[in-house]
């Protein structure tokens, strides 16, 4: 029996099929979830994928956060369901207050697409155990609203608790405070980041690196050994 990992499609989601492919490549079973259904189909984990849900017209993730599917998701995430938010998914998680802080427009005011170097700061979350702490990886980044902000108190708390999961290395692509690329909740089951691990799982595609695959193998291991 393998793990079943849900991928939510909102109107305007873009990387849903790509994320399903990454889950499949890692050896788990992707399960399509629909934003209008208050039903998580008993999946073992959920990925909120990248895109421009509802056009990101109000604020990135602000409208999707009120979708029916988010009701059970918020409840179950609080109860320990592993949830990974990638890019728009990260934005939705902050809007839903499952993760602290907020995402704002890139400080240079442009969309940015690049192969981004990151450091894995926390290799103990549900989604990062196949990395080692301090490991440097390259993951494609592509977004308009990638600037992570939170007040100093929150930032200090995140740092103190080791909840900064990923940091930008060499180049901060969007003005995120303290070079934060991704964070986790206290329990380590909810993780959000701006770069796209699902686009770094095949050696021929994109940047040609597979540095993103451990996200999906980490969760798979956790779920099958659980």
């Amino acid at each position: 029996m393998t793990a079943r990992i849900g991928v939510v499609t909102f109107p305007g989601s873009l990387d849903d099929r790509d994320t399903q492919r990454a889950i499949r490549i890692a050896g788990a079973e992707p399960v399509a979830l629909w934003h209008k259904d208050k039903d998580l189909k008993q999946v073992d984990a959920v990925v909120l994928c990248g895109g421009f849900s509802y056009g990101d017209y109000l604020r990135a993730g602000a409208i999707a956060r009120f979708s029916p599917v988010m009701e059970p998701l918020i409840d179950q995430a609080r109860a320990g369901l592993p949830v990974l938010g990638i890019c728009n998914g990260f934005q939705i998680l902050t809007e839903a207050h499952l993760l602290p802080g907020a995402m704002l427009g890139n400080d240079h005011l442009h969309f940015i697409c690049r192969d981004q170097k990151l450091r894995v700061e926390n290799a103990e979350t549900s989604w990062t155990t196949d990395y080692s702490a301090g490991q440097e990886i390259h993951i494609p980044l592509k977004n308009m609203d990638g600037r992570y902000v939170a007040d100093d108190y929150t930032l200090d708390q995140l740092e103190a608790e080791g909840r900064v999961a990923f940091r930008y290395v060499d180049f901060n692509p969007n003005g995120s405070l303290r070079d934060i690329a991704g964070i986790t909740n206290e329990a380590g089951n909810v993780v959000g980041l701006m770069p796209h691990p699902e686009h770094a799982v095949e050696s021929l595609i994109g940047t040609g690196r597979t540095d993103g695959l451990p996200f999906f193998t980490s969760i798979l291991k956790k779920l099958v050994t659980a």
């Binding site: 492919r21 421009f52 969309f111 697409c113 592509k142 796209h196």
Partner: protein, 752 residues
């Protein structure tokens, strides 16, 4: 507001003397008389609206048609061609049951007026063409041309255009995998914003724009209809035709990429369930175009109730509704028993969908408003029987002097020092500089199938995950070459795009084009156009790559000054296994650099002549399409059999530009030796066509040489991948750091 009484067909018949504002709507007197003759009475206001937009230059190709016919007449025999010119986009067989559709279009003028929205809606329009063929869009490309890089208005237009293309394409989830950015003062005031898209489908999913089967329903779905882009039609909305006051209708259309993303998904879902008989996107001329084309391409007639069109602005008149160019709308023909399911799918995706009419067994297009019949026409006369002009054309009298002003006579660098400085100047010039500042605003990764994207020679997308089947696309154009000789210039654009596709290891299959020219009413421009089309058609015949569709953009001129004739050519290719693709970047030190093809003293229209001497004159490089074909075969075989690890085609900027790009991308330098029979200057800067550089692993050298020798392609070993400098032995050495600084800082410092 509608007039009283409503200008119905009966009313028109009964009031033959009413004067209609045909001139204001852009019709010529004889065109209007032709409408009256077709109908046997004066047209109603609504009919006039339809004829006037459908017979416009943009929709009817009235100036270009007589020339474009050559693409059909000279079309090469090609087994790959599934759908040719005339549909929304051409379709090509790429094997394994897959078909690919692609097309390039212009959105030049709107992008000058409102760069962001103009460019954004350009992407939206071309993507709808792709969906309308039944395909899932998989990538976009954007050939762009602007005024001088340091002109203040370029700083307004370029960032807006780039943000608009990115804003729309990124939000749709389409990777941007290629394009061009060219600066030239001739585009000041007339920037060229061309956008191309590719879609993939299974053979059985190909859909066409035709309405057949009496009783089938016509469904309009997508955005509500507003007063966008109506222009002249507002005259028809006034109380009486003679008391025409301009009404407040926006000339600029605002795009909603989110809505279009929903259109893509719900359309593909409807296709998958086989719910669609015929389909048409709404672009220029909106409903006028969609209804008349659907009806005229099908077997029956069509009856439409305009009152059922969902409106964003309730004050629109029927004429305005017919002409509105509101974005993000599609029109589908669906069998009655499938309508419910179709509407369910639209509802699932929150897309508004409304039955607005049905296919009839007559042969008329009839449109009703408030119970009255306001249109009753033979749809073919609207869609296909527009005027055709044989516009006069003549080789301009300045052409000889231009060609006589030979670039070969320009002073060349006298010392190694000067040569080195000119190399730096060239790679830093806006046209040759890195476009990363622009292309990093585009998503290249979305959909997870991007094998190659900019700055590679062509973009490449994986089509099948199992087999590795992929498609490649490159777009090229060179207005400077075309100005010197439009026939050759068009062939050089074709040759370059063809070569770019082959350089990445893909086999070129088919062509789309976007022909950007000045006013067809100027015989000199018309000659450039005629020559370019002739050159392209002849070239495609010789290379065996049919033109599958394209777009013509005329009147790109300010006053008397036309842009350079700018045919932009897109070539689509196929590769059996994307694992065999060849990248631009040098991969490994020690690999041998070979120059393929012949290098002659050819500097007419070259980047060197522009950058160093601000000169345009002489003849463009010679074209030898047989040589291009041979070069392509060698590049493809070498990639398939693993004989080369990187390759880069040579075009504007010549060899030195290519070597510098391969070196910077790979982070590995090169040591070059000037071969016998050439001088360093010519080796570095000549723009002879039909050439590429390749990096050959030492273990493959014999095999590679044997292949080139056996097939008669000149292959000259010119150096080796090595170190962190680019060195021309006996001349100069430049570090990669220096080169990178020169190459990468130009655009940001001009625009950021």
């Amino acid at each position: 507001m509608s007039r009283t009484p409503l200008d119905t067909v009966e009313h028109a018949a009964a009031t033959p003397d009413v004067e209609l504002p045909w001139a204001e709507l852009g019709l010529k007197k004889d065109e209007y008389e032709r409408v009256v003759e077709i109908l046997g009475r004066r047209p109603t206001g609504a009919e006039l609206a339809m004829y006037s937009v459908m017979w416009s230059e943009h929709c009817s190709y009235k100036s270009s048609k007589v020339h474009l016919r050559q693409f059909g007449e000279k079309a090469p025999q090609s087994d790959a061609l599934l759908v040719g010119i005339g549909e929304n986009a051409g379709v090509v067989d790429v094997g394994q049951g897959y078909a690919v559709t692609f097309k390039v279009e212009s959105h030049n003028h709107p992008s000058y007026v409102e760069p962001y929205q103009g460019a954004a809606t350009g992407v939206g329009g071309i993507v709808r063409d792709i969906i309308a063929m039944g395909a899932r869009p998989v990538a976009v490309v954007d050939p762009l041309r602007f005024g001088a890089a340091d002109h203040p208005d370029t700083k307004r237009v370029l960032p807006g255009v780039v943000a608009g293309i990115g804003g729309y394409g990124n939000c749709l989830g389409l990777p941007n995998i290629g394009g061009e950015v060219v600066f030239d003062a001739c585009y000041q005031g007339n920037p060229l914003v061309n956008a191309g898209a590719i879609g993939v489908m299974r053979h059985e999913d190909i859909h066409l724009a035709k309405a057949s089967g009496a009783g089938n329903k016509v469904i309009l779905y997508g955005a509500r209809t507003g007063g966008d882009g109506i222009g002249g039609a507002s005259i028809l909305a006034s109380e009486t035709f003679d008391d025409a006051k301009p009404s407040k209708r926006p000339a600029v259309q605002v795009g909603d990429p989110f809505q279009e993303k929903l259109l893509i998904e719900c359309t593909l879902e409807a296709f998958a369930e086989k719910l669609v008989v015929g389909i048409q996107d709404l672009g220029a001329a909106g409903l006028s175009c969609a209804t008349s084309e659907l009806a005229s391409n099908g077997s029956g007639g069509m009856r439409v109730t305009l009152d059922d069109v969902p409106l964003r602005d309730s004050t629109l008149s029927p004429e305005e509704i017919l002409m509105s160019e509101s974005q993000e709308r599609m029109c589908a023909v669906v069998e009655p028993d499938k309508v419910e399911r179709f509407l369910e799918i639209c509802d699932k995706w929150d897309v508004i969908a409304t039955v607005i009419g049905e296919v009839t067994d007559g042969d008329r297009l009839e449109i009703f408003w408030h119970g009255g019949k306001i249109v009753d026409v033979d749809p073919r006369t609207v869609a296909h029987d527009g005027p055709v002009y044989e516009r006069p054309y003549a080789r301009p009298d300045w052409q000889d002097a231009l060609q006589a002003d030979d670039a070969g006579k320009l002073p060349r660098p006298a010392t190694s020092e000067e040569l080195r400085d000119q190399v730096l100047k060239l790679v830093a010039s806006p046209n040759q500089a890195s476009k990363k500042w622009i292309t990093s605003q585009y998503d290249h990764f979305v959909q997870g199938n991007t094998v190659l994207a900019q700055p590679e020679d062509s973009g490449m997308i994986r089509v099948d995950e199992e087999s590795g089947l992929g498609v490649a696309i490159a777009t090229d154009g060179n207005g400077r070459y075309a100005k010197l000789d439009p026939y050759t210039g068009a062939q050089l654009a074709l040759a370059e795009a063809y070569r770019n596709v082959a350089t990445t290891g893909a086999k070129p299959l088919a062509v789309s084009d976007c022909l950007n020219f000045g006013s067809p009413e100027d015989p000199a421009v018309m000659w450039q156009f005629a020559e370019a089309v002739r050159g392209l058609a002849d070239g495609c015949l010789q290379l065996g790559t049919p033109v599958t569709g394209g777009n013509v953009s005329l009147y790109n001129q300010t006053g008397e000054a036309a842009i350079h004739p700018t045919p932009v050519v897109a070539v689509l290719g196929v590769i059996d296994d994307v694992a065999r693709r060849t990248p631009v970047a040098f991969q490994e030190e020690g690999q041998l650099i070979y120059l393929l093809g012949d290098t002659r003293e050819e500097f007419g229209g070259s980047a060197w002549s522009q950058v160093v001497h601000d000169h345009l004159g002489g003849l463009p490089p010679r074209v030898d399409l047989e040589r291009e074909r041979l070069l392509a075969e060698i590049l493809i075989s070498a990639s398939r059999d693993g004989m080369i690890d990187s390759a880069h085609d040579l075009s504007d900027g010549g060899l030195v530009q290519a070597v510098v790009e391969s070196a910077l991308l790979g982070g590995k330098g090169a040591r070059l030796i000037v071969p016998d029979g050439l001088d360093a200057f010519t080796l570095l800067f000549s723009e002879s066509a039909g050439r590429a550089i390749v990096a050959v692993p030492r273990s493959e050298e014999v095999r590679f040489n044997d292949m080139c020798g056996a097939r008669g392609l000149p292959a000259t070993r010119i150096g080796v991948v090595d170190g962190d400098t680019v060195e021309i032995q006996g001349e100069f050495t430049l570090t990669l750091a220096e080169l990178r600084e020169a190459h990468e800082n130009t655009i940001p410092s001009l625009l950021a």
